[in-house]
């Protein structure tokens, strides 16, 4: 049994980060890895002296575009729908995660000593060719290898980086299969999700994150897929979130949607799924008007109906693959369909995140969908 307790460090780090995104990715005690994860991330874990998201704060910019090392974890989450001159569609995901693995800063004569770990996932969907490429990186947030800075604005992990200004960022990354080099210009002001930016994720004080979005950027630049250079333009979405603890014991995953409608309105919503298959009462969203004003949506404001399923050949995991979203309050009735089915990240941990098409009565749009915690 002793052997089982000794799983590698990487798994631990990954799982600490994964905790926020993928709290119950594994069934309890299903296998060795899970045992380890639960021994580290058990509900009775000591959250240490990290700052928690307890009450609404005044967001300040550009400071809040930078890192919040007092919180345990944080991310810069860009997704976007692009197309080339010929009209071929592409989706991209550009995500950098920050994670503290100790609740205090470390003094050292060595530049390498740190309590900060960075991880990134980037992906490109080539809709016409029905291809999905995804890569990840993880490294320590020290010795200049990865980090986040406000002035000049830069969030990076090795040669994947976000520069420019927080509302006019430039995203650059290169991988074996593709490169991304795009410039984003915000078309909408910052939107605070939840209660003035405080987003409650599960019962209990502090089980929340600070969460803001920039729901629409005009996006222009270049993708290279398998050495083929493509001029692209389109729209992007940014989610910024930082927290110390969020999900509780009962939650197993979530379905998250960011929808950009052609009439300049946006919708963000997520369903937190519980063990029993029910949606958590804390599932919520944000409705953003064309002018930029936003309205918080609670669980009772929307319905989410699954219309179809898709099973991954690689992992045998069955994901929902078509939804009907209704927000009666704003006369919204949309069908969301992934542009291609296989947008499953098969990295250290497995989830589905991809570009989707939105169709409603007399209205269309694009979306990005994230499906976490399916087995």
């Amino acid at each position: 049994m002793k052997k089982f307790v000794n799983i590698g460090f990487f798994l631990v780090i990954i799982s600490i980060i994964a905790f926020f995104l993928f709290r119950y990715l594994f069934k309890p005690a299903a296998d060795n890895k899970t045992m380890r994860i639960h021994s580290v991330l058990g509900a009775d874990k000591n959250e240490g002296n990290y700052t928690k998201a307890i009450k609404p704060i005044n967001f300040r910019f550009p400071d809040d575009a930078g890192p919040h090392p007092d919180f345990k974890s944080e991310w810069w989450y860009f997704t976007g729908n692009l197309s080339d001159d010929a009209g071929a569609e592409y989706g991209y995901q550009f995500t950098i995660f920050r994670q503290s693995i100790l609740d205090k800063k470390l003094d050292s004569s060595s530049d390498w000593r740190t309590n900060q770990v960075y991880m990134a996932h980037i992906a490109v969907t080539d809709v016409v060719n029905d291809k999905f490429y995804s890569f990840s990186k993880m490294t320590r947030g020290s010795a200049g290898l990865a980090g986040a800075k406000i002035k000049p604005f830069r969030v990076w992990i090795e040669n994947w980086e976000i520069t420019g200004e927080y509302n006019h960022p430039i995203l650059k990354a290169s991988t074996r299969d593709f490169t991304i080099d795009i410039q984003l210009n915000s078309l909408k002001p910052i939107v605070l999700n939840g209660n003035r930016g405080l987003s409650q994720k599960s019962q209990g004080i502090g089980n929340a994150s600070y969460y803001y979005s920039i729901p629409r950027f005009k996006t222009k630049g270049e993708l290279t897929i398998k050495k083929r250079k493509i001029n692209v333009s389109g729209e992007s979405w940014l989610d910024r979130e930082w927290s110390t603890s969020s999900l509780g014991k009962e939650e197993v995953g979530w379905d998250w949607f960011s929808i950009q409608l052609e009439d300049s309105r946006e919708v963000m919503l997520y369903k937190i799924r519980k063990k029993d298959g029910q949606a958590s009462t804390l599932s919520s969203g944000t409705y953003i008007k064309a002018g930029g004003a936003s309205v918080h949506l609670t669980k009772s404001d929307f319905t989410l109906e699954v219309l179809d399923y898709w099973q991954s050949a690689a992992t045998s995991i069955k994901y929902p693959s078509k939804w009907r979203i209704k927000i009666p309050k704003f006369q919204i009735d949309l069908v969301v369909t992934p542009k291609i089915n296989n947008q499953e990240h098969q990295l250290q941990f497995i989830y589905w995140e991809g570009t989707a098409k939105v169709v409603g009565d007399n209205i269309q749009g694009n979306a990005y969908v994230e499906l976490v915690g399916y087995k």
Binding site: K2, K3, V5, N6, I7, G8, F9, F10, L11, V12, I13, I101, L102, L106, S108, S109, S110, D111, W112, R113, T114, N115, V117, K137, M138, T139, R140, S142, A143, G144, L145, W156, E158, N159, W160, E161, S174
Partner: protein, 850 residues
Amino acid sequence: MFLNTRLFKISFRYFIKHPFQTTMMVLGIALGVALVVSIDIANSSVEASFQKSTQSITGKATHQIIGTYQPLNQDIYTTLKTKLGFEKSAPVIIGKTEIKELDNKPMRILGVDPFSEFQFRNFGSQDQPLKNIKSDKFTDLILKPASIMISENLARQHNIKQNGQLTLIFGSKEVTITIVGFITLAEASGENDIADGILYMDISTAQELLNFEKKLSYIDLILDSDSAIYHEIKRLLPNGVKLLPTAKKSSAIREMSKSFEFNLAAFSLLALLVGLFLIYNTVTFSIISRRHQFGILRALGVTRQEVFYMVISESLFFGIIGTFIGLLLGIFLGIYTVRMVSQTVSGLYYFLPVSLFNISWFTFVKGIMLGVLVSVLSSLVPAFEANQSQTNDALLHSVLETKMNRWLPYFSYFGLFLNIIGIAILCYSSKNVPLGFLGTAFIVFGFAFFIPLLTWMAMKVFIPLFTPVLGITAKMALRSISRSLSRTGVSIAALMIAISVYIGVGIMINSFKGSLNQWVDTHLKGDVHIASSEDSKNFLPIDFIKAVRALPMVVGINEYQLIQLQAGPYINSTLFIIDNSQPSYQWVWKKVGSDKLRNDFTRDTVYISESFAWKHDIEENINNIISLETPKGIQNFKVGGVFSDFFLRGGRIVMYQNVFTKYWNESRSTNIEVYLKNPKQASKFINAVKAISSDNPLLTTTQFEIRKRILKAFDNTFAITVALQILSALVAVIGILNTIMALIYERFREIGMLRANGLSIKQLWKMLMIESGFIGLLSGLIALPLGLVLSWILIAVINKRSFGWTLNFSLDIEIFINAMVLSICAALFAGIFPAWKASHTPIINAIRTE
């Protein structure tokens, strides 16, 4: 085989009845084989320790980015990652330390970045990146200072538990570390795991412990030399920083100790060759004592061929037994030789974090082949002698001796021929070490063929010289030596070779020690030496040097910098940068440029050690140029002189500080030597240094300690040589014992007749003792010139070729006296048993057949 069982039984019975001879024969072959095997085990163990420990550190890396002169700036790694995004790269810091609690066990420090590791070292796979690691609190490794992992095997041996603490010694600094996990590398060997000598830690911990801020030892890479990224990376590197295949680097390190190991192997072969003489003697003796029996066998219809095979089979049989005993003995001896050789290699050439005991099948094959071959070869002549057996056996020996006398000149011609070949090999094999040994062997054996002639001549001189003094018995004894040249010749040759080896090696060691002492005297000037760390990879803080200078007990300071070159054509050589205000180093010049040049600090001049010059063929032309890649590009430096040096590790290039600063823009020092008002205050001074050095892991050593350490390191080397020397002498003594027994046995009837005619027991003893003593004397005398020649060859050819050293030839009369005493005593000792036996044989038995 070619022998029928009945004949084998006959010969076997003889050996059962003569346990002493049988034992000697088996022992002779066993000792020789044991030596060869044990040295071979030691060498292959060093090879295995080196390969395994290198592999455990290099892992899957194909290339390394390494600074030629200085540790790498860590920014190179950051750039590699952030500009090129090159994933298959990992930063590495290596260092050395000792664990106080484990009797100062030396350990390799390996500082790595766990985030980049799984692709490189054997910690696990991508799925389970650290599956070879056991730890409850692995994150401590990167979060907590002084958190370290050790091998699970080492922990078990010393009962070290998780969260246990150990003390590491870094010069004057001691650091308490915590064990946060254990590692097991699969390829364990016996009781060792290749991870045993390694302290695994996070790169930040390594920087803290070794004061290695902002620096890396090197960067590991996995890449293809043909790939585009290879060239991209190369373009990224500043001058003096190199992208090298890992194999190139490790083979350059491995190369350093090869000469040393080869020398050991050659000496062990020598011991086996002395063993060859021993078997020859024993087999001959057995044949002589059975001449009667062979006569009877021949009379009964046994063919000559059968007699021949019978003798060969006997020696083969006992040779095989001896070989197997030798193998076992060799393994046993190996435990000792492995330790000695690993220690020497670790002390003089490169650090071996583990000492594995490795026996390859090839060692056994070698041992068996050599043992069997030597036993068959050495019995060929006696077997031929046996098949000549006539029914009238009494004739045989005298016939042989007559032939011998006729052959005398031809023997000498043949000896001369061998000598000429030997000299030719030595002259025309330039730097080749194995050929150097081959040439030496030819000369030694050539010399052996002069023995019959020399003996015959010596007796011509001795008989008239000693007869008046020692009487008629002496005359009889001496006559018998020259009369039985076919026996005594071989015996004298065997003893002579052993004694000449004793002399040659003795003079070599003596010369070496003399030269080394002189070198230490001229090069170790300061009373106390302070190094920034064991490998001098750090600079001494300028404030610290100032503070030392200001201490009241200090008279003066010499600053210098030691850089072991990590890449380029002079890889592993040491660049030694000295203060130009102190040109007073007393170099012993071997070849010197003009004095003007030598004292001109402004020119781009370097001075090189002779081993460096030898290795890079710079010796012949003093106005040579060497090129070094400086941060300002490739620069030529004039060679101002070649000096005598015993600094190992690829030799030295000496450069004045101002020249170095001009191109490297670096004027700090890694080492200082301090002159004290009163050298006896060294320990007081060291305490004062500790007080001002605060956190620096300095290495302070008094001149006395350094001297002791250097001499001890070399002593270790010689301990093995001396052991070989003694063992070959032992083999020779056993050989001489057999010969004298053979001689006396052959004269059994003669002695019986003499006794019957009134020779007293006392006279018999006197006669036999004089005979043995003169054999010893003669061997010793002939060994003197050969020993001298041998020592000259060892010094001027073998050492020069192996290590590039020129030793001052230093003759010590004591070696000659010892050699003579050894030679005579060995022979006298060998004569005791035969004389005792002869004197106890009833006369009637001896002359029964008359």
